[in-house]
Structures are given as C-alpha cells and as structure tokens.
Amino acid sequence: MNWPLVPQQIMTGILNGGIIGLIALGIVLIFKASEVFNFAHGHMVMVGAFLTWWFSGGGGEGSLFNLPFWAALLAALVVSAVIGLLIERLALRPMTGQPLLAIILMTLGLSQLLEGLASIFFGVQPKSNFPAPFSAGEVFRFPFPGAFNDTIILKKTLVAAFIVAIVAAVVFILLFQRTRIGLAMRATSENHEVARSLGIRVSEVFGLSWAVAGIVATLGGVLLATLTGASLSLSTVVLIAFPAILLGGLDSLPGAIVGGIVVGLVQALVQASSAIEVRNSAEIAPYVLLLIVLVIRPEGLFGRKRIERV
C-alpha cells in the first residue's frame, strides 16, 4: 500500500461510488417494479448524456438547439422519460410473462439498437465539450495530516456530482417507499394479478417506472459526462454498476447506493497500491468482487433471500 495516497483515494472512491450507486439505482428500480433486469441501462445512460450535450448546442455552429446547461438537462430528462415509455410499450410489454432468458436477451438487443442509433445521431467521436457547471481545474483543498502533501484535493465537479447523486437517490427512494405511486409499483412487483384486482393499472405502473428509469439514467449519464465527457464508451463504463447491484442486493434501493460506494472504494483503494500489478487490476477488481459475492452471499448485503416454489 502507498499509505499517503490512501486518504485521498478513499474520498475519491466514495464520491465516484455515489455516481455508480445512482446508476445502479435505476436498474434496481426497474427490477423492483417489473422484474426486468435492464442490461440496456448503460446505453440509456449514454443516450442521456448525449441528449444533454446535443440540447446544449454541443454540435457547434448550426446546431438545432443552443440551450443553457440547466434547460438542456431538463429537455434531456423529458426526452429520456419519453424514450423510457417507448421502450416499455414497444419492447418489453410484448415480453410480459416470457421466460427470464427472453427478457434478458430483449434488453441486450435493445442495448445494441441504442448503441447504433446513438452513433448515427451523435457521431462516433467522443465529445469533450460537455457543458459543466465547473471547469476541470476548480478544486477543493482540505488539510489532512498524513496524506500526500498533507492535503486532500477534490474536484468541484466530482463533489457536485456526488451531492446530486445522493439527493436524487434519496428522492427516488422516498418516491418508492412513501408515495402512492411507489406503493403501486411495489404492489405490482409483488404480483401483477393481485395488483390489478386491487385497482392498480399495471401497464401504467410499468410505463411510469420505465420513464423514471430513463430520468435516473440521464441524470447518471450527465454526472458521468461532466467528469469524462460524453462518448459511446460511457455504456461500458456503466457496467461496473452490476457488481454494485449484486453486492447491495438486487431488490434493495439503499443497497444499490451502498454497493456503488463500496465498488468505488474498492477501485480507488486498488489504485492506491504500491505494486503496479495490483494497480493494473483496478478495472477488473469490481468483477472479482462480483464473483466473490456470487459464491458467498448471492442475495447481496441487503437483498431478500428468495424461496422458490414449484
């Protein structure tokens, strides 16, 4: 271990982990409401980031829109909610009651389709001119004895992204746990038929939860893009949300956030190692964690153990 780096890496890891957690939350939300595990979430994240970039006039001269950042974000959220609704109506409603394999493949096909559409609409080059409220050089410095140069340096963008992620996560968890809409979602996930007989419009609940997932994905995408710029590879970056979800438990919303933070910490701490071989493994460390979780505690930290009946 390279000890002077550790405090810095712990802070960066937690902040990055918050963003991973928000992305994981979107997947868990869909899973809880409709039992669909959305492999296309990463691509929805990527499309959300591109939409914000496009609405804010990132295409340069002759762009159709040239909105300020906040208005662009709002427009992107609306569009991605509509995309979520469309995905539910066109792709997943016909799959209701189909086996797990078919539904997983449907979301995989969807991810390919979104990838192609995004590259044809927005181009294949990464967009580094993503609008951000802070420039990359603006940082907070905290004195911390024992750390490298006795200070912890945090990018303002990263801190802001973390705060937005946590606030958004709390809002969506409250929506799910405390409102009538959330109650309807939870009832639907428990049993479609019972929910319907209680007067809940199941199809509306599915549509709504996909719209919400689209919004969460876009938020996550914008937060990531403020750090790295918008690019097609965002969808691959997002795959490390999967270990976070399994660690937190597939059906636990707070678990997604905790899992995200743990994954962020693991990645950051691996990077603080003094051995180059260990540092190199930062990109696969989350997946090794995933395998360990699968073998030791498949239901995750906060998930419910499933009992199967025939």
Binding site: G109, Q112, V295
Partner: protein
C-alpha cells in the same frame, strides 16, 4: 425435438429408431449438400469462401452456446471470452511446443473446457440471472488476464500474438480456399457430436434441468454436475471455434473482437436461429452474418452519398440491424428460424389441409 411424423410411420428396429438420418432420400440430400458445400472454393467467389470460413467457426461457437443456453437454460455472456482462451491456447501449443494444430485441438478443447468450469462453479449457489453475471465477469477478467499476466507469452500490453499457419507435413493451409476444408471437416465433426449429445442421457438431463430444475433434481439428475458438464462442453466448443478463428486470421488478441458485444451477438444468433435446436446455430449464424455484411454494404453506400458523415454511417448499421432483428425475433418468433422451418415442413406435408 422429435419431428412430428405422419400416422403409420413407425420404427421397426432399434437401428431405425436410433438413426439420425432416417430415410434413404435424406442420405441423398445430405451427400449432395456436403458435396455442394465442399466444392464451394471451386465454383464460389473468394468472398463466399472466406464467409464460409467465418460461418464455420461462428457456428461451432454457437453450437457450444446452444448446449449451455439452449438445452440447459443457463445464460452465458462469456462465450467470446472462451473463444479467446481457445485461440491463445492453440497459438501457444503450436508456437512453443511445435504441435500440429490438429493435434493441439483436443488439448485446446480440454483446456478451454476447464477454464469454462471455473466460471461455471458459481452455478453451485446461483442460477438464472445471477449466473449471467458470473459469465459476464469472465468476459472482463479473461481478456484482462491475457493482457497483464505471462506477458512474454501472451503478448502483454500489445494485446495480441501471431498464430502460425496450420500444416500437415509440407502442406500449408495458407489460403482461405485451403483453410476451408479444415473448417468443413470440423463443422461436420462438431455437428455430429452435438446432435448425439442432445439425444443421449446427457442431453436429456440438460433439457430436464432447463425445463424445471427442481423436478429434475427430484428425478435424480445431479443438478450441479450436469450444469458443470454443460459449461465444460460449451467452453470446449468455444475453444475449438476460437482456435479455428485464430489460425484463419493468423492473429489472436483481446482487441480483435472477442468482447462482450461478440458474446451478445453469439447469443443473438442462437435466438434468431432457434434455442435448443440443432439446426438453429446454422440458420442463426448464417442470418446474422448476412445481416452484418448487408449492414456494411448499406453503410458504405450511404457513406458514398454523404461523405462527410461516412465514419458514423459505416459503423452504425451493424448494431441497429442486429438489435432490431433480435428484438423482432423475440417478439414475433421466439423459437427462431428453426421453428419456422419445422412449420414450413409440416405445412408441406399436410398439404392440402394446411393453411
């Protein structure tokens, strides 16, 4: 799946019951088909020959996937990574031990199968979606290992190593035309192999596990054992496919299309062709390869029309076509082209009473 036979068509001996090729005219058709395929390099274009080579290793990889996903019902998102393992093992055996590619192939199958077993181990505790996650981890961990371990042998950060041309004695399989015969022979072998696996005790246990694992366990099927066997066979076939691909491209490496996308495409081929059918891998691989080439042509032509957009047009149509095809098949024909083919045959047989 047993074909629906017309009334009065019975088997009169065990030989007849066990036969794969049931009728004399089917032998004729089969021989004709093999002869026509075997002479492709003589009458076909160079494009057709290379496409057949590509089709051959793809079909074998999809056949492996068909065992684990189609018959046993365990989702595998790591088939492309196992192809990578096979390619590397074959390249290393041929380069460093001086084995012929053909002698190395059984070792490749064994080695890749063992790697597949490692990632099948979580199936002891988990199933369904969770298992998909374990194989997804394989898809990331394996390429990483090839880049960061044993860098002298595996190419290190360049991420690729050269693969020798296969040879028998002095005869080099150094052109697509010559390589074609290796492809054809191996496809015939794996096809007979998978056809026989699926209609013996092993294959029936796989189907029992897929249809209802709890019931299968109560009937005395050792769940864990059979799942591991399915993973082993799938990875072994992927290894053979990877070795074939590596030797025909003469290079193998992490960046050369062995990623998660390739695994998804292999799964998509299986679904489009038909899960749990021996015809499925052929139809699915051929259909998707045709779609990919079509997408390339469309992209190139549109790129000529709009030259300033050519970069994005060239790469965008392949995922769009593939994604759309996969989604449409899942909605309208989830049992794939193989089922459609069965329906066509049945309606021909029942003529004029079929609709």
């Amino acid at each position: 799946m047993a074909a629906i036979r017309p009334a009065g068509d019975f088997d009169r001996s065990y030989e007849q019951d066990k036969a794969i090729v049931r009728q004399n005219w089917q032998w004729v058709v089969l021989t004709l088909a093999i002869v026509v395929t075997a002479t492709v390099p003589l009458w076909g274009s160079a494009y057709l020959t290379t496409t057949f080579n590509r089709l051959a290793y793809t079909v074998i990889a999809v056949q492996g996937l068909n065992i684990v996903t189609g018959y046993t019902g365990q989702i595998s998102l790591g088939q492309a990574a196992f192809m990578l393992v096979g390619g590397y093992i074959s390249a290393l055996l041929v380069t460093h031990l001086g084995l012929s590619m053909f002698l190395a192939l059984p070792l490749v199958a064994l080695g890749t199968g063992l790697v597949g077993l490692i990632f099948g181990l979580p199936s002891l505790r988990v199933k369904g979606f969770y298992l998909a996650m374990a194989t997804l981890a394989a898809q990331f961990i394996i390429p990483w290992l090839t880049r960061h371990t044993f860098t002298d042998y595996l190419g290190g950060s360049s991420g690729r190593i050269a693969v020798p041309v296969p040879a028998i004695g002095e005869f080099l399989f150094n052109s697509a035309t010559r390589y074609f015969y290796i492809s054809l022979a191996l496809v015939i072998i794996t096809t007979v192999l998978t056809a026989n696996i699926t209609r013996t005790r092993l294959g029936r246990a796989f189907v029992a596990v897929r249809d209802n694992d709890l019931a299968a366990e109560l009937l005395g099927v050792n769940l864990f054992g059979y799942k591991l066997r399915a993973f082993f066979i799938a990875a072994a076939l992927a290894g053979v496919a990877g070795a074939m691909r590596a030797h025909s491209q003469r290079v193998v490496g992490t960046e050369l299309g062995y990623g998660l996308n390739e695994s998804i495409i292999l799964l998509g081929m299986l679904v489009i062709g038909g899960l749990g059918s021996n015809l499925g891998p052929f139809l699915g691989a051929a259909a998707v390869i045709f779609l990919e080439d079509l997408a390339n042509v469309v992209g190139q032509e549109l790129g000529l029309l709009f030259p300033d957009q050519s970069a994005r047009l060239l790469t965008s149509f392949r995922p769009i076509f593939f994604g759309l095809a996969l989604m449409l098949f899942l909605i309208f024909e989830p049992r794939g082209l193989a089922h459609r083919w069965r329906l066509i045959k049945a309606s021909w047989r029942l003529r004029p009473f079929s609709r």
